[in-house]
Each structure stands twice: as C-alpha cells, then as structure tokens.
C-alpha cells in the first residue's frame, strides 16, 4: 500500500479485565482507500474500531490518526478529531425520535452555523446520494433495515469526514440491499476522497469493494493483502474464511471443559438399534443398578 497512511496502529495490546483481546496489533490504513478488517465473532474487530474512535484506550501501543496519537488527546482534542470521522453502526443507530431529515441534519445543526436553507439542500443531496431523498419525512421506524442503514450512511457522511468507519455494514441485509450498501461505501469513499475502514464478516461483498483486507484471529493479524492476493492465498485460515468451511483453524467450539464430564456421562451399555448392537453412553445415575 504505497499511499500515505491516515491511520496507524502500532503494537496495540488491549484487554477487557484479564481477557486479552488484541495482542500486539500493527495495521496501516492509507488515505483514499477502502480497507476491510475481517475475522470471526469476538476476535476484536469492533474493539479496533473503538480504539480508532477513541472510545477506549489501548493497554499499550498507540493509534495515530493524521499524526496525532488518539489516546493522548484531551476531551476537546478528541471531539475535534471525531468531527473529522464518521461511523456507521451495525444497525444504523438512527435517532428514533427524529425524522430521516432531522437525523441527517443533526450534525450540521450541532456543529455548524449554516442557515436552514443550506442545511435543507445539503440534507437532500446526502439523501439523494444514498437513493432515499423521498424518505425525508419518514421516521426511522418506518424504514426497512437496508433503508435505515442507507440513511445512517447519509448521516455519517453529512460533514464529509476524512475517515469513515463501518461496523458490520452488511449484517442482516437482503442480497439487493447488500450490493447497494457495498457500492455506496465504495462510491462515497471515492467521491469524498476519504478513507474507509469496514469491519465485516461478509467476505464476498468485501472482496468486491475493498482495496486491502486484514484478517484477525485471536487478537492478531493472521493474513493481509489485496483482494486478488486473498483469493489466491493458500493459508488455511483464509481458505476457511473465504470459502465458509466449518473445519479449519477457526474452531467451531468455544473452549470448554470435557464434553463427557459436562454431560455427566456415567456408563455405557449395549442396546439393539436397527437390528444391530450399538454402544450407548448414558448420563445421570445408572438405572440398572437401581433396579
């Protein structure tokens, strides 16, 4: 990735209590690119976004945006930085007591002194960009999941941020909405000259729109590359993830104790099943002994 980095994550460690989430992470997000962070549930993807947004501080290491270390900023500095960011939450996080129009206008009214006529035009342009100009009078409860995500996208880019973060933007969308949202992410990034970080599970959609991908597992980067490099990768994790295979380095089961012990298995016996004798394991007290 030759272009200049907007976001740099260096040697970042983070833990929730005693549970380590990120272990020595190093990532670079160049300007004007769409970069995906992928990995299984609970691998630390959203934690990475929260670190970039300054909601949490790393245990060690740093996150730098535009040359500024995020966790060293004071409250005013952090808010000044956040004005240059946009974040699309998993389910949109639209303000349910406001109309679509007011949701998109919200940041403009809070952060600028623009007259209402100009705000009106800007809101309409943002809604037009996501194809939902006609919904400006509706309330969030009247929108479908895909539409809510697109309105939230319009709100996210309301002040033309330099960095846009997407937390699972494709979750729960039908195939058409999924393609629409995917294309919007790419188009808006190009139109705004921004940098987009997309945290997602959706490999196929991501491979279509992103410039670079990071694969995260157990708190470390285990693979990275352009979509072509990822498709051609023979790493078992990448193969498992890209092809959605059940068997592979990512275990299906969360670590736990001995299965037989959890089932309280006590004894086995031979019983007839389909005219064959098979061994059956019983759990609980041995009924034969009771008899």
């Amino acid at each position: 990735m030759p272009s200049e980095a907007l976001v740099e994550i260096r040697d970042v460690n983070f833990a929730y209590g005693h549970r380590p989430i990120l272990k020595g992470m190093n990532l670079t997000f160049p300007k004007n690119k769409v970069i995906a962070i992928m990995g299984g549930s609970g691998c630390g993807k959203t934690t990475l976004l929260r670190l970039i947004g300054g909601s949490i501080k790393p245990t060690s290491g740093y996150v730098k945006i535009g040359g500024q270390v995020i966790h060293e900023l004071d409250h005013a500095g952090l808010y000044a930085m956040r004005r240059k960011m946009g974040m699309l939450f998993q389910f949109g996080a639209l303000f349910t007591d406001m109309s679509v129009y007011d949701n998109v206008a919200f940041q403009m009214r809070e952060h600028t002194n623009l007259p209402e006529e100009i705000i009106h035009d800007l809101v309409m342009m943002k809604l037009h960009a996501v194809g939902l100009r006609g919904t400006h009078n509706l309330m969030p409860a009247e929108l479908s999941g895909g539409m809510a995500r697109r309105v939230a996208l319009a709100r996210t880019v309301a002040l033309d941020p330099m960095l846009i973060m997407y937390d699972e933007p494709f979750a729960g969308l039908d195939p058409i909405s999924l393609t629409v949202v995917g294309n919007l992410i790419k188009r808006l990034n190009d139109a705004l000259g921004a940098t987009s970080i997309v945290v997602t599970h959706d490999v196929q959609e991501s491979l279509k729109i992103v410039d670079y991908l990071y694969f995260v597992a157990e708190g470390v980067i285990i693979a990275e590359g352009t979509p072509d490099e990822i498709r051609a990768s023979d790493k078992p994790f990448v193969q498992q993830f890209v092809n959605g295979e059940m068997d592979g380095p990512v275990p299906f089961h969360y670590p736990g104790g001995d299965y037989q012990q959890d089932l309280k298995l006590k004894h086995t016996e031979l019983v007839k099943f389909n005219k064959r004798k098979v061994t059956v394991r019983h759990f609980g007290p041995d009924r034969r002994q009771k008899k």
Partner: protein, 261 residues
Amino acid sequence: MTTAITKYLVGIGRTVMNALWRIGIGTRFLSLILLNSGISFSRFHLTIRELFFSGVMSLIIILVAGMFVGMVLGLQGYETLKRYGSESALGSLVALSLVRELGPVLAALLFASRAGSAMTAEIGLMKVTEQISAMEMMAINPIARVVAPRFWAGVFAVPLLAAMFSVMGVFGGYLVGVVLIGVDEGSFWSQMQSNVDFQHDVLNGVFKSCVFGAVVTVIALFEGYDAPPTAEGVSGATTRTVVESSLAILILDFILTALML
C-alpha cells in the same frame, strides 16, 4: 456455622459498598449534568421540548389524582372536623394538607412513575440501540445534549405539576365540602385565605417540589444512562427508578419537613 455468618456479613458489606459506590457515581453524574447545563439554557427549546414530554404529558394523571385526593380530603376532613364543630376550617385543612405535603409528595411520586420511568427506558433504549455511542462518535456530548435538558425539564416540571395538583385538590375539596356536603362557601375560602401563609406554606412546598424534581429526574437519568444495554438491563433500571425515587421522595420529605418546621 462461622463460615455461613462470615458469608452473610460479607454479603451485607458488599451490598452496602455497592450502594455507596452507586451513590458516588450518581453524584458524579449530577455534577457532570450541572457542568454541561449551558446548552439547556442557550438552546432553551431543547428543555422546552422535554418539559412538554415529561410535564405536559403528565398533566392528566396529575389533575385527576389531585382532584380525587382533594375530594377524599374533603370527606375525611369534614368527618373529623364535625366532631369538634369546626367544619368551617375545612378549607384551610384541605389547602394546608395539599400545599405543604400532599401536593409536592404525590405529584413527585406520580411524576416518578409516569415520566421518570419513561426517561429511564428512553435513555436505556438509546444505549441499547447505540444512539448514545453514535452521538459521542459525532463529537456531541450526550450529557449536554440528551441528559441535561431532561434534568432541567424535570426540575421545572415537578413544582408546576405540584401546583396544578394542589389547585385541583382544593377544587375537589370544595366540590365535596361546599357543593355536596354544604359547608359554608364564605368560611371555606376565607379560612383558607387567612391560614395559608405564602412564605411558610406555599414557598416551602415549592422548594420541596424543586428538590423532589431534581432527585427523581437525576435518579431516572442515571439509571437509564447506567443501564446494561440489554432488554433485561433496561427493565431492571426502570424498576429501580420507580423504587429508588419513591423512597427518596418519602425520606427527603421527612428531612425537609423537619428542617423547615
């Protein structure tokens, strides 16, 4: 046996420590609200909007409750005063009971159940649906934008609601005492006028209402803001709001009454 007693004592200690911890965090939350209250006054329409939702929308329950409380006071007061031949003092009994105690206390209790629980549920659900996080990511302080206007709306709403409660209560007492039972109308109003002191009775009642309004609202907002972002968390927070607010109102009522007498 010793272990069981130790466990019991540890449990009590933990509960007390948790309660103190929450009071500490709640106080810090209140100071944050006060520090971030500028926007509630510089953009007063935000506070007015919340005043509408928490105050105006609570009017019906307050007016109806006030009316019936006043009617009961009229009936009970007449029955008691009749024994001493002092039926003419019914007006002052009804008014003093309402202005000093029942108005501020019952209005605050009703406000806690109607508006306080709604505030907790609303803020809690805003957390669940990441609206609060979204606001923070937009560099907008949710304490200043969402919480402080609601707090001031509560502080303004409760005294106004208590006043409406008392007015309706007096009207209810008048209906029962004068219109239904036949107490002399002139003595009903003149006794009330001569015995209700503006500073000692009315202003003290208003002061109580302001304190109750602040306490109920800060409990409701804190519980909502502190609620775990789950359905169970919001439900528990809403219940706690009503229980804690009701207890706080009754305990504070005793303390304030003792201080002001």
